[in-house]
Symmetry: C5
Subunit: 153 residues, 5 copies
């Protein structure tokens, strides 16, 4: 079993390093890292990790700028990652930080770190412990921000 | 015959549990449940249920937040589910709740429950009783809210 | 030769019945009808009619609500139908009524009926009389509303 | 060698006729014409011309109305034509006129005619004289309106 | 090993020439150039370079006008390039200049030249020196404008 980690040089936070740190903390699953320039390069990076590097699941770590053009690139990234999954029958967990989602850099850094760590745990659960996710079904989980919880207990 | 049920930990309502409850009420078709983190993970969950778990139809249960980014994820989900269907030649019934479609949480919960139950019935009809749907053609059926009815009788 | 007709229970007009009526008036081509809940189920319905029911062409009859979410579903429908055609090398004629395109229900009903009937004729021509369409090339044909005609005679 | 020409009955200008006229003027390459109702039918028409009629390149001639719905259809057309090209490894030259891009019908007619003729020349060059396009690289060529030229000579 | 360079006659800067100049400066990898009319022709150009001309990676050089229609073409280009990569399992580095991203022509020319040169270096690194990109992961690299740097050292 192997997990792929794809990140970018565009990102302002070393999300790949955080992902590897978290993966090491919670599991002994080996990983392969692949760094590309920007988010539009992540779909092919994910596919190569799955098909050429023998990964069973990939975590992509994207950083999206604040302009309309960046938002379009985000849609293209998302659509591309869905295609990669449907072509390989494997999960790709898409962790994205939008540069405009926090008011200051310190908060943004914190959101990024938390979101990466929580999604690494989701990814590991999908591979080795899917029952944990089923127990959390419908409970309003969020990544990077506090969980909002269920409407109805 | 088997029905797949894919839901998320992001959802604030346990839509998977409601779907299973309804399925049990109206049929004895076995089911397989698959819980993923969020709506962008639903297309691959649906494809795995259809191709790896032997399901003949999948019901996906999505919960969409109220921001523009959430709306983009919804488009990606919808497009991904169409692709899954075209790749497998099987139906995927997409049940989506938009967090901003009701004014308070109680109404939202009610809409979610009704919509899930009505679509479970649609799904079962598609598999075992397609003639019922044909009788309802053009009658303005809605799921979650009251039917609007036909313009012309 | 066989024509598929896919319609929905969401529609407020029995467009499938009108399509069958028109088809009977102008040809003896057999048809197969497939009713699904809503427009996002039409692409897989069309593909099944073409690949599993032996149809040579499909007419899809969609009814689109007036919200932004409905409009997104319409884009997904359109993109899905293009994919179905490219995967099967067969035509799918997409007849869509937008609930907000007429000011009152009576007009909407009339537009729907006319549009369905005119597109059934287009569909039959594509199959058995493509030369008629070529004669109409560049003449500003419209379906449901009066033709606008060519700019240059 | 053969060129496909796909046009519509929706168009208000007989763009197919203009394309054939230009093709005849500048080359002796045979052509095949295929007329469909509207722009969403052009992707399958192009694919059929390439795969069933033996064409080596297709020119599609689209006319887009001025509403938001027409604009969505244009996006679907464009995306569909990219897919056709990637599935066949052949060029499809997309000539589109937007009904709202000129102030009066006479200008629109002129833009349409010029754009069709210039793109027919591009299409022929792609097939038999790709070096001419390479000489024009980065020179700000436009079709239908005057070229804007390069920023830097 | 060979790199493909796809550019357009629509561009107002000879981006292909700049790319070749940079490639020559930093490597001896052979290249193949393919010039097409506009950005919507770039996906098929990239696929042909990869599949028919034996290229291992393609750099596409796109120039996008300032209207909403141009922006839609840009989305279609981006989505098409993702598809090309997923179909071939090879990288396509997309270098795009938006005509409205600089205030005057001189700045735009400078941005275009810098962006092309920096992405040529990224492309070469992806092929022969992927470790350099990994060292730059999360450091806020930008192409055409100054790097913004990491939030956290």
């Amino acid at each position: 079993m192997k997990i792929g980690i794809a990140d970018t040089t565009f990102s302002r936070v070393n999300m790949g390093k955080i992902a590897i740190d978290e993966l090491r903390k919670i599991s002994s699953i080996p990983y392969e890292r692949y760094t590309v320039p920007g988010i539009k390069d992540l779909p092919i990076a994910a596919k190569k990790l799955l098909e050429e590097k023998g990964c069973d699941l990939v975590i992509t770590l994207g950083w999206v700028g604040g302009t309309q053009k960046d938002m379009f690139s985000y849609i293209v990234l998302s659509m591309g990652l869905v295609m990669v999954q449907l072509m390989t029958n494997k999960h790709v967990i898409d962790v994205t930080i939008h540069e405009d989602e926090a008011e200051d850099e310190k908060t943004l850094m914190m959101v990024a770190e938390n979101r990466v760590r929580e999604h690494v745990r989701n990814a590991v659960d999908l591979l080795v412990n899917p029952k944990r996710l089923q127990k959390l079904a419908g409970t309003g989980q969020r990544q990077g921000y506090p969980d909002v919880g269920p409407i109805w207990k």
